[in-house]
């Protein structure tokens, strides 16, 4: 979840009241935010990713003013037309653009810092790492021409000075040689040759979504802004320009409309649209979801506190959604805002009707009884990772085709889902050679093997893996307790001569439980012990418990 740093004195100024830090933290808590106080003037605010309209102090102040009832309903924004025109020949890789201006914002150092932070956070969350949308900010007064062009260009045939640089690069050089180019240059390039570019007259002012040109750089002292939003999804491009312009106008600036004309003048748009939407919220619906007997009048008030406009109708409240509240998809989202306005901790929890206890499923009854018995027999239970290393599995002879493997493991040591716990138990033994002998350990858990028949292409089993290690350890040291435990569970068990890749021929047996072969026990081969670095003899066993709990039991 995004975390932003904001200046408290800016927040106080925008809210129009000096808030003490505790009061502020409490208020923001009810707006889904967590506050970390860095110092008396700097706060770190963790937000939820559904509220891009709060990624800057201006947006937070707007929400707080509602909650504090300093302002209710949708703010009024000053909007005027400009004479700026953008001609668009839509680049196939990034066809949509929206442009708007903000006048009289008077950017100082702190606001600039926040503006850049806002841009970055929006890029990573809502912008999906600049793939879906990206924003460019320009000093309006530095614009070479009021006629803009957005189109694709040959990356070798256009040159400009990238932001915060002094050398002129071709667009290809920007992609290949700059940090930003290496990171984002692949997103919108076509055939390794064409890239979207925004011109003012004949000068490049932005190469979306990679970098702006230095020519329109925004700095402390900038008074008027031009904002471009480009992207692959028209809805998100339009929503983003609404979010930014209303945010920047919050401190008193005026929004300017920009005309977008598509190739051949076939169609045109004017941005920002600042489109509001109307949702009818059924009063009964809100009551039913919240479980509160709340009046339409109270609903209206809470909605206004959350900065919606609300009008009471017959059995419903007509709610107008401000353009920046892009998280409102459904009336249910308004219900949540009402709950937030009430305060979650002011809502009295209620117990649903009680239900009679349910029996513990046979699986857990069996496993828990088996654990009890093994513990009584002196075995220590272990809790092991489900992720393991495919290499160590192959080493103990597991077939590669049985192993579920991860495409993006965090480390090679944990690149597979375990199909057995034998390797993990052997490693546990290796690591416990310094403790008092004997070492008697077991673990019961789920394992996963590949199975093409299943919808998830895998099959899950519940198994028991158990081992005995001591200065002297022989087959019987494990055979005796294991057979005893299984018999005490009410099953028939016998051991019959078998072979296993891990254990010594002639000292290995299959475990036949109620006539089903469910696993093996045996003394581990000395060559395997030596390879693992284990200096003590080990008896090990693994049995499949899956559905043993549905097997009939001898009383």
């Amino acid at each position: 979840m995004p975390v932003i740093r904001i200046y408290k004195h800016r927040l106080d100024k925008l809210v129009g009241r000096t808030l003490n830090v505790e009061e502020l933290a409490e208020l923001l808590f009810n707006l889904k935010c967590e506050v970390n106080i860095v110092d008396e003037n700097v706060l770190e605010v963790e937000l939820n990713s559904d509220r891009p309209d709060m990624l800057m102090t201006e947006g937070i102040a707007r929400a707080l003013k509602g909650l504090l009832e300093l302002e209710l309903g949708i703010p009024e924004y000053k909007v005027a037309n400009t004479d700026i025109v953008v001609y668009v020949d839509p680049p196939p890789t990034r066809p949509y653009i929206a442009v708007a201006t903000i006048h009289n914002v008077n950017i100082d150092y702190e606001m600039l810092e926040e503006l850049i932070q806002f841009q970055e956070k929006l890029h990573t969350t809502y912008g999906r790492m600049r793939r879906r949308i990206a924003i460019g900010l320009h000093d309006l007064d530095k614009l070479p021409s009021k006629t803009l062009y957005y189109r694709e260009v040959d990356v070798d045939k256009v040159k400009f000075i990238p932001l915060h640089d002094y050398r002129e690069y071709t667009a290809r050089e920007v992609i290949e040689n700059t940090k930003q180019g290496k990171e984002y240059g692949h997103i919108s390039i076509r055939d390794n040759k064409y890239h979207p570019m925004l011109f003012s007259g004949d000068k490049v002012i932005a190469m979306p979504p990679v970098i702006n040109a230095d020519i329109t750089r925004v700095e402390p002292g900038t008074k008027n802004l031009l904002v471009d939003v480009t992207g692959t999804d028209k809805r998100y491009v339009e929503e983003t320009i609404d979010i930014i312009t209303t945010m920047l106008a919050e401190s008193g600036g005026q929004i300017g409309r920009v005309h977008i004309i598509y190739r051949g003048e076939k169609s045109s748009e004017v941005y920002p649209k600042l489109r509001t939407e109307v949702i009818k919220l059924n009063v009964e619906y809100a009551r039913r979801v919240l479980g509160l007997d709340i009046s339409a009048k109270d609903l209206k008030h809470h909605l206004e506190k959350m900065r919606f406009n609300a009008k009471i109708g017959d059995g419903y409240v007509e709610v107008t959604i401000p353009p920046y509240r892009v998280d409102i998809l459904h009336p249910i989202d308004l219900v949540e805002d009402i709950a937030m306005s009430i305060g979650y901790n002011n809502i009295e929890p209620l117990l649903p009707s009680t239900m009679p206890p349910t029996p513990l499923p046979p699986k857990y009854r069996l496993i828990n009884t088996l654990r009890e018995l093994l513990i009584g027999l002196g075995f220590q239970e272990l809790h092991l990772y489900m992720l393991t290393s495919s290499k160590s599995l192959v080493k103990i002879g597991v077939n590669e085709e049985d192993i579920v493997r991860i495409a993006n493991p965090i480390t090679e040591e944990l690149d597979a889902l375990r199909p057995t716990m034998l390797n993990q138990l052997l490693i546990a033994l290796r690591d416990n050679q310094h403790v008092d002998m004997p070492v008697k350990i077991f673990s019961i858990g789920d394992v996963v093997v590949v199975d093409e028949e299943k919808e998830t292409k895998t099959n899950e089993k519940t198994i028991l893996t158990i081992a005995y290690m001591s200065g002297k350890a022989s087959f019987e040291d494990l055979q005796a307790p294991l057979c005893t435990a299984i018999r005490l569970l009410g099953f028939e068990v016998k051991t019959i001569k078998a072979k296993h890749r891990l254990t010594i021929d002639g000292r290995t047996a299959s475990l036949i439980i109620n006539n089903v072969n469910r696993g093996f026990i045996g003394e581990v081969k000395p060559e395997i012990l030596e390879e693992l670095g284990i200096k003590y003899p080990v008896v090990i066993g693994e049995i499949d418990l899956t559905n043993l709990w549905t097997t009939p039991v001898k009383q």
């Binding site: 889904k32 513990i375 990772y385």
Partner: protein, 492 residues
Amino acid sequence: MTIPLSEGEYKVLSQLAKLKKTKLDELAVSTGLPKSSIAAYIELLASKGLAKIIEEKYVRIEATEEGRKWVDKLPEEVLVDILKEKTGKASIDDVIRDLGKDLASIALSWARRRGWIKIKNGMIELVGYTEPKEVKEFLRKALKGLTLRKGEEPIDIVKELKKRKMIRIEELTEKFVEITSKGIEVLHKPILEVSVLTSDIIATGKWRTIRLKPYNVEAEPPKVYPGRKHFFIEFLEEVRRILHEMGFTEMKSYYVETEFWNFDVLFQAQDHPAREVHDTFHLKYPSKGSIDAYKDIVERVKAVHEHGGMSGSKGWGYKWDPEIAKRLILRSQTTSASARYLYYNKEPPVRAYIIGKVFRPDEISAKRLPEFYQFDGIVMEENLTFRHLLGIIREFFTHLGIKKLKFKPGYFPFTEPSVEGYVYIDGLGWIEVFGAGMFRPEVLEMLGVKHPVAAWGMGLERIAMAFYGINDIRLLYTTDLSMLRTMKAKWW
């Protein structure tokens, strides 16, 4: 007289009674006990006055090089032979010439002392000769070395030979053990001291004649280790027990899950960041699953994602791709189980839970692991409200012994209203432990459910760590037996 004897003491003493007086070595051989134990037993017996240690002194005599040289004929005898050759008389000068000055002087001195010669005016005269048989015999014996009890050696001979450097003498002490009369007495009526009380001792009635040796009961006992259940699994089982008590039924999903059930059904857009490699383990093998069995719901998922379908929502407004939905991942949440369960159980009342491993690509640290247990629960009732959601969560925590809860509005793509929950734990303060909410109308529409559903999910590691006072999550997976064997049992 009752002097108790240990088994070892008894054995040694009775052997001693047979041997009377003996050396420790012999006692060791005849009892079959190691010499060191014998010495200890003898000390014990002597301290009780049952045996006596006798020290005897010996002299060890051995011939020297000088002794070996003259064993057949002493120097004075050589002189006698010379005199006999010269008809009984010779001048000192002649003798010195024949024997050398040193030897001549020794021979003359001893011959005179034995009274064999007279010396007058530089002339030596033989007056008599008797062979010193005893001296020579002794010297011969000394060639091999001989040991005599001190005081029993022929004093004059030893003195002479020692003076003439023909023998060397060493004094020795040897220990003997002898049973005392008290020892013999005790043997007739033995009281055995036993350290191990055996079944044989009880069954044969031997216990009447023995004494049990007192132990040092204040000494630290040796270390023993019980088999133990793993504490974290015990915690998980406690949670499971509480849920069954509250009327919940277990539900299931798979460790390897299609993105369809893990994300799409939960209204997570296909370009949602949580689905990317930073937040979800994708599979290299096998990589694609099947959603063919769910044609009806697949259609609804597509409609809801693209434009809201019949749910009354705007949807996400993009083109939904079934191929993405088929991709296999390691489940990143157990909410997929709730979705699967509701798909098959659409009628209230429903109370269901899952406790299961979920996986996320987090680096291993004291705070995070790439796998952890999640507990998801759902409640469906005809008139279920948001307040009931808060109520049932509060009830669950009450069962766990946690009374103080705090709710914060939150965001999850599949619930609305959404809650993030904090619990207060003494000594730790507020910790964030769960996410909850009412399933969104979009989710219910996709699943075909007509009734409100309250849902929540929580990681169990953090709560368990708070319970056990552990501050490193990796300890929940330790295989270090020295820790598992010795960690305190949590009973309070």
